[in-house]
């Protein structure tokens, strides 16, 4: 107060940088309790001056009616006014009927802007702190303001960093660039700034470290490769470290001739491939990656490696990624074909043989494809099985060329294989250009670097001496000619050789690059040889002799002569049993020189040849040629065909990409929308699937085609009983399909019967079991007059087993499951075989018939043996077996099975399944009384953050293990952690209360608090009894099936849990003391 008793106005400062806060006379004031009132303070501080109430209402209450929003503004204003008056002893709010604003306050964001306006950048940056603004507030206006402030700050930091570097203050320059990078770790602009600053400071290795981190982050979080600018900067920094310009020395003695090795220079690289091969040959399998720009010598180095391996008697198989439309598993398909020819009949009957049948068209007939994720695992495991088998008697070298244009599925196999070949005499080598780097391939290289023996060879430009030596090997040239070639080659051996060739042909070194040399070579070629080169150039890949003959319309005898001419001109080569350009860059140069009309015509001809002569694996390639030939309408069909093929191989990302392209060309095609919905469903994206499905329905609706509409609903139902796991939606959809067919009077008996069988299945899963039975009885009569259909009959049997379970008729459940499984086995649908038996077993397990359930699962297989193909389903079956065996008190056996499931999951590199196996192992150990080990195992499972293990329950079970092993404090901590875990639908919250009561009772008992212990244990008892009494077992099973969309064996057994509580209670009462440490 002043001497006159007048209140001095308080100095009030509102902070928006960081969390919203308010300081009065330098002291933090308490904010209103209402979160909306705090948000209002933030909004007003950000918008100086009087603001319309309507603007405030729409910003802070955007989704509520106007009247309610205005009312909420009044309520929040009241709370804010009261707080401000209490804190500052005066009104800081000015308000009228229409407007509201803050007055006489300082806002830190305004201070920040003023400092910048005065060019006081250092002070502004210091004020900005961490750069976060309105922390904790998630309103849209706050998010926008935060983003805008962050972008402004980043720009400021980058600019400030450059200025500091220009002034020679590298420490500040690096610090500012680092702060910018921390604010936006995914910004390549920031990363480049930091790389540059480190380079300028002389820390090139640190700069490359920054590059590696941003590449890794982009790949993991956005699944993209870095931009051209970022990559080029990294390459410049990398090359500047290692490239040394050496003046060309005059030749000494006679020119070099072809020796034992055709590799010039590259001594270190040659040594590296030799070492990699020796390691592999000796049984320490590994990976070799050769990276470099086009024409730098990757293929040449690989040829040396192949020569080395063949000289050791090894099996060598190669696959190539074509530049145009690489089919899923394309390079692996070629490798499998090559190995199949080498191994012959030895492959018959092996576990992997049928799995890889889809990659061996013409050799083996594949079975009907299952769900994409199942097929993906089966193919990958099949290929790894093939590699292991081929390497049993002899070392094996596998080469995949040009993987920068390879497909995602092939790269995924590389990832998995790299981890599995450590003890096999196998070397997997692949080549790639620096760009593009598909994210799946980056994953594979990361996996390779983590496994035992791996070598990454980056081919840099050859030094001038080596280039000179290379050209002197091919011809006798003057020193000045060699100098000219060295200058023209820029370290590229390909360009050096082409320049040398051009010099010999035209008397001049290439001045216009490869194109002029190729043109010079072409002009001397007879027309048929030019046609061959044109066919090879347009194909974008090597052609078989048959393909080449077809495409240029000659016989094989004529082709011999034609090829020789192209070969002598230095354009074509024989690669294995196929014809190709000598190098992809020569192909590109030749292609670029073709007249546009001729190119288009040739592309169309290639497409026709592929459509007529190729299988679905060539559809993607055919589509690319049709598009290049200007036939986009025809390309749509091939894109859809290619997508279907991709789905059948589990290459769901590729399928989505092809369909998206088809959709862009034909936006109103219901079939394409529907297929797109399917791939979204299989990728686990229900919202996108629904949106695409609705789009398909809208398009079909305009065509008034009831059969198409019903078929679409049936597809939707299939996805909901499959990847989307929502049987209730499936039931609605299939009912809709039947109503459409009935209303339209469609006479398609087979379609109607199929739909009825599907409806019976959905009723069994998530509807009325009596209706399910009635439908099945009616179907038995209708189906007797029409041919059998395997999928329909499997659904009928599974539906029957579900209705039997739900009606308590357990004696026939196994028979129905087995009948469905037999049909699934007959059509090679392993996924349906598993599903049929697991479903029956889960039903029996739900009512405590553990022996019978185990008997059914044992029909799938016992503990997996070496050589058997791993799959996620297999792991889940084994975990279910472990749970059942544990219920039968055969704990040692249960542990063996659970651990073998873990081994299988590790082979699949599936961390989620590994954590689930650890959890099951921990639970078995808990039941077996090995409490310390149980606690350790459950702790290990809980370390995997996103694993689907039922975290609250796992924590409470760990707490139980801890208290029973005497570690009360750790048990108490785990109880606390369980209470703070997110809880989802599969966690059965009511059972968690029972578990927590048990653990707290045990803790109380151990502490001698007998009354508390008894109260908690009695509460646990009542919870479990309530659960047991609430519904019958069959309906509990059905509820689980409807909620989770899949049969579940394990997790909750209320009767067993009640027994545990009763034993603890008895011990507590009979011992009269804290002796509840026995389960």
């Amino acid at each position: 107060m002043t001497a006159a008793g007048k209140v001095e106005p308080a100095a009030v400062r509102v902070r928006l940088l960081g969390e919203i806060a308010i300081d009065v006379n330098g002291h933090a004031a308490e904010l209103p309790n209402s979160g909306r009132a705090v948000a209002l303070l933030g909004w007003l501080a950000l918008h100086p001056g009087p603001q319309y109430r309507t603007d405030i209402a729409s910003a802070l209450w955007p989704d509520v009616p106007d009247a309610s929003a205005r009312s909420s503004v009044r309520t929040a204003l009241w709370a804010l006014r009261r707080m401000l008056e209490d804190a500052a002893a005066g009104s800081l709010l000015e308000s009228s009927r229409y407007r509201v604003g803050l007055r006489d306050v300082v806002v830190d964001v305004q201070e920040f802007a003023e400092l910048l306006a005065q060019d006081r950048v250092d002070e502004a940056l210091a004020l900005a702190g961490t750069g976060e603004m309105l922390t904790g507030l998630e309103d849209e206006w706050a998010l926008l303001a935060r983003q805008s402030h962050r972008e402004r700050l980043i720009a400021l930091l980058v600019e400030g960093s450059e200025k500091a570097a220009a002034g020679g203050d590298f420490t500040t320059a690096v610090e500012r660039a680092r702060r910018a990078t921390e604010l936006d770790p995914l910004s390549e602009t920031c990363a480049r700034a930091l790389m540059l600053r480190h380079e300028e400071a002389g820390d090139r290795s640190v700069a490359l470290g920054v590059y590696a981190r941003v590449v890794d982050r982009l790949r993991r979080e956005l699944h993209v490769a870095p931009s051209e600018d970022t990559w080029r900067l990294a390459e410049r920094i990398r090359v500047s470290e290692r490239r040394r310009h050496v003046a060309v020395r005059p030749a000494v003695g006679t020119p070099m001739t072809e020796g034992t090795s055709t590799v010039v220079g590259r001594r270190q690289e040659f040594a590296a491939i030799g070492a990699a091969w020796r390691h592999a040959r000796g049984g320490r399998g590994g990976v070799l990656v050769v990276r470099g720009d086009p024409g730098i010598g990757k293929t040449h180095l690989i040829q040396e490696l192949c020569r080395m391996a063949r000289a050791d008697g090894a099996l060598v198989a190669m696959g190539f990624a074509p530049e145009i439309g690489c089919a899923p598993y394309g390079p692996w398909s070629e490798i499998a074909m090559s190995l199949a020819q080498d191994l012959g009949a030895a492959m018959d009957g092996r576990s992997f043989t049928q799995a890889i049948a889809p990659l061996l068209p013409g050799l083996l007939a594949p079975t009907a494809p299952g769900p994409p994720d199942f097929e993906r695992t089966r193919l990958t495991e099949g290929l790894i099985g093939l590699i292991g088998f081929a390497a049993r008697g002899t070392p094996l070298l596998l080469v995949l060329e040009d993987m920068h244009v390879g497909d995602e599925s092939s790269a995924a196999v590389l990832s998995r294989a790299a981890r599995r070949i450590a003890d096999w005499p196998v070397l997997i080598a692949w080549t790639r250009r620096h760009r593009p780097l598909p994210s799946a391939l980056a994953d594979a290289e990361e996996a390779a670097q983590r496994c035992g023996e791996s070598a990454m060879i980056d081919l840099a430009p050859l030094c001038d001496d080596d280039i000179a030596a290379l050209v002197r090997r091919t011809d006798t040239l003057s020193d000045s000619a060699v100098e000219d070639i060295v200058v023209a080659a820029h370290g590229s051996p390909l360009l050096a050789l082409e320049a040398s060739r051009a010099l010999a042909n035209t008397g001049a070194v290439l001045s216009e690059g490869l194109r002029a040399g190729v043109r010079a070579a072409t002009t001397r070629l007879p027309m048929p040889a030019r046609d061959l080169c044109a066919a090879l150039a347009v194909a974008g890949r090597a052609l078989s002799i048959e393909e080449a003959c077809r495409r240029i319309g000659v016989t094989q005898i004529d082709l011999d002569i034609i090829f020789e001419q192209a070969h002598e001109a230095g354009l074509a080569v024989l690669a294995g049993d196929r014809l190709d350009f000598r190098h992809a860059m020569l192909r590109d140069a030749f292609y670029d020189d073709l007249p546009a009309l001729m190119r288009a015509r040739l592309h169309r001809a290639v497409a026709e040849d592929l459509i007529v002569g190729g299988g679905p694996e060539r559809a993607d390639e055919a589509a690319r040629h049709l598009l290049a030939g200007g036939r986009s309408e025809d390309a749509v069909h091939e894109l859809v065909r290619g997508a279907g093929h991709a789905v059948s191989l589990g290459a769901i990302e590729r399928a989505e990409s092809l369909l998206a392209q088809a959709d862009r060309l034909h936006p109103d095609d219901a079939d394409i929308s529907l297929e797109l919905a399917g791939v979204a469903a299989h990728r686990g994206r229900p919202d996108i699937a629904r949106e695409r499905f609705d789009r398909a329905l809208a398009t079909i609706g305009t065509a008034a085609d009831p059969v198409a509409l019903a078929a679409a609903h049936i597809r939707w139902a299939e996805w909901n009983t499959g990847p989307l796991c929502d049987p209730r939606s499936a039931r609605e959809s299939i009912q809709c399909a039947i109503e459409i067919l009935d209303t339209a009077g469609v006479a398609g008996l087979r379609m109607q019967v199929d739909a009825q069988a599907f409806l019976a299945l959905c009723e069994g899963m998530a509807g009325d079991p009596l209706r399910c039975e009635a439908l099945l009885d009616a179907l038995d009569e209708r189906c007797s007059g029409i041919p059998a259909e395997p999928i329909r009959d499997i659904r009928r049997h599974v539906a029957r087993s579900l209705s039997q379970i739900r009606r308590g008729r357990f004696e026939r459940v196994a028979d129905s499951g087995r009948a469905a499984a037999a049909i699934a086995r007959s059509i090679g649908r392993q996924d349906l075989l598993y599903g049929s038996l697991v479903n029956a077993a889960a039903g029996l397990a739900a009512v405590g018939k553990y022996v019978e359930a185990l008997g059914i699962l044992d029909e799938i297989g016992v503990v997996p043996v070496e050589g058997r193909l791993a799959s996620a389903t297999e792991v889940e079956v084994q975990l279910s077996r472990a749970w059942l065996i544990s219920r039968l008190e055969r704990h040692d056996e249960a542990l063996r099975v659970a651990r073998s499931a873990h081994t299988l999951a590790a082979r699949l590199d599936n961390t989620d399944l590994m954590a689930r196996a650890d959890t099951e192992t921990g639970r078995i150990l808990l039941r077996a009384g090995s409490f310390g080990e149980a606690a350790d195992m459950l702790a290990q499972a809980l370390q995997v953050p996103d694993a689907q293990i039922g975290r609250p329950m796992a924590r409470l079970q760990r707490a139980e293990a801890l208290v029973r092993s005497g570690d009360l404090q750790a048990a108490q901590d785990e109880v606390r952690a369980a209470a703070l875990e997110p809880i989802g639908v599969g966690d059965w919250p009511d059972t968690l209360v029972a578990r927590m009561s048990l653990v707290r009772g045990l803790i109380a008992a151990a502490r001698g608090e007998r009354a508390v212990a008894e109260r908690q244990l009695r509460h646990a008892e009542s919870c479990w009894r309530r659960r047991l009494d609430a519904t019958d077992a069959g309906e509990r099973y059905a509820a689980t099936l409807a909620d989770l969309g899949r049969p579940v064996i394990g997790l909750i057994s209320p009767a067993d849990e009640l027994d545990v509580v009763l034993v603890d209670l008895e011990l507590l009462i009979s011992n009269g003391g804290p002796d509840a440490h026995v389960r």
Binding site: V64, P982, G984, V985, P989, D990, V993, A1030
Partner: protein, 129 residues
Amino acid sequence: MPTFDDAVTTSAAPEDVWMLLYDPMQFPQWWSGVATTTYGGDGDYTMFVDGYPDFPMAQQLDTAPEGNRVTISCMVSDIKFQWRLEPLPDGTRISVHVDVPEREAARLQMQRGIIEQSLHRLAALAQQH
């Protein structure tokens, strides 16, 4: 849609509050106006309000996988209560967000009073555990 928020701080541990919040059978002990609850299985239960023993109010207890929230929805009135626990160094903050449908807007003030009273009873009861 009318909404309101309320919160209280208790010295009880989060697990003490959790036990009361996740178990509908305990609601009559702290939720003002709730006379009895009966269990229906898998998160469904029925609440009977004081003075209306013949008027069952079906409820659904759901949990959100983020933010330790439990949502209790009245299937009769469509009023939705979203409870949230936050651990504090010396206790727990219990907060609740209530959504009242437009047709029930007249009951907003009454609900505000009920929830305020219930929050304090919940906090006090948890302290006794």
